[in-house]
Amino acid sequence: MSGEIFHAAAGMGRKLRGRALVARDGFSARYDLDRVRGIFSRPEHSLAGESYVGRVLVLDAAKGGVATAWMLHEMKARSVVPAALVLNAVNPIMVQGAALADFTMISGFDLDITQAIPNGALVEVDPTGERPFIRIV
């Protein structure tokens, strides 16, 4: 499995490496996070109680409201922020938030990316080329 590359439809931000935090759930900074403590706080989320700080979040779809467009910027300013977002499906809010925060994000795969990346795997995310990708290191 090591070295396997999964290409995304779109990406932005910088190339980086990090440990994957994976779930089949969706993602919204407002709905799902305690941004002060840096953990998932929504009781129904399967990552509830887990720290997201410095992790490459591999999740299904962008959910919820518009607040994430500001919140990624605010989280990054305090360094209580994930390393990157890897999503099956984005909504415009995630794209707008990543653009403001200069945050690494890729999305849109030929398969369910949450099933392809093992939780805890060391991964490389590269949004900089014509074909953005995530790779298990």
């Binding site: 500001w70 910027h73 707008q96 938030g97």
Partner: protein
Amino acid sequence: MKLTDEEEALRNGEFGPAAQWAIEHQIKVGAYLGAGDFVPVTQAHIMADTESLGLAGVEWLERMAGLPAQHRLVRIPTITDPRGTDFAAAHRLKQQPWMLDLERRAIAAFEALGVLMTDTCINYQTIMPPVHGEHVAYGDTGVVIYSNSVCGARSNFEGGPSALSAGLTGRTPRYGYHLEEQRRATLIVDVGWTPRELNDWGALGAIVGRLAGDYWQVPALVGIDRVPGSDELKHFGAALASYGSVALFHIAGITPEAKRLDDVVPAGAPLPTHNIGEADIRAFQASYAKAIDRVDLVVFSAPQLSLLELQQLAGLLDGRRATIPLLAVTSPQVKPDADRLGLTGRIEAAGGTILSGMCFYQSYAREMAEANGWKLLATNSAKLVNIIGGYGYTPALMSMEACVDAACAGGKIVP
């Protein structure tokens, strides 16, 4: 993205650094989402409570507000979503001075940019409803889904930075629901029971939202047997957008783009069909009330209440007394009418509190819970129950009448 001469000039800084930043931001977003060009918009609506902005966001706004006046003003009418407080009632909510200071700084910055501080998420009921085919840049999911679906306007979800960008440039990238082909249905929902109460409409929206699953899905409902009112579609849409991140729905025979179901179903494309009945709606509501027999407070918010919702609430409270906090949140446009017509007086005489220009979950909900000892919350808003769990509350979804009964019974949920 293909740029006009004016857009090239914006990009080159000929309209100042604020508009230059704005169009660069929009190009980045548009490129990611496949926009080929820009579309002019007539209004922008910005979500920017300070719990979301944080200190970093407020300082970012202040830097823009510090530019010379000719280089910082919005070019189209630009209004705001609810703020993080009602200054007149902040002490009752035990909000801290630093929260109010941050709010004042954000307000001053927005005003310097020429933004109108309307502080409302029901602008389609109170300020200037968009018309069919009008391209706008709205920044509250409930506002977007109502405007797209009920009014026939064209908007994507525009988060704060992007809505402000649209205000500064007068345009937005043309992708998503600005494109006719994106507005076709992708799933059909056959509703076997037309909701009655607002919390029923919210529950239906939540179920459809879960079925739809992401932003790019457009549910078309059949089987609704009467024309819903604005408040009913407000709660339905807000919940659908909250649970599903959905920005557009159709109801056959009711919403303007779906006079007939065939109008929004792509030819020759069998769509997945789902059935929802009363039992599904009741089961959804029950899932939020299990193991709760009492609550600490009752909240009517998300979206802000219309004048007619406040009238209903006043009627339910007449001659009674709420013995736990009962908060009803409305817009600064509705509040003066509620005062003038005696609704505020009736609700507050019964122990309720009317809040204006804020929304409960956008107002430091976690800190309010800790300061007031609030944990168990009853509401008739499906949107609020979806959000508020992440802030440490355990919510129950009930009708307005049942919420009032609980408030007047010391918080005990009356079976």
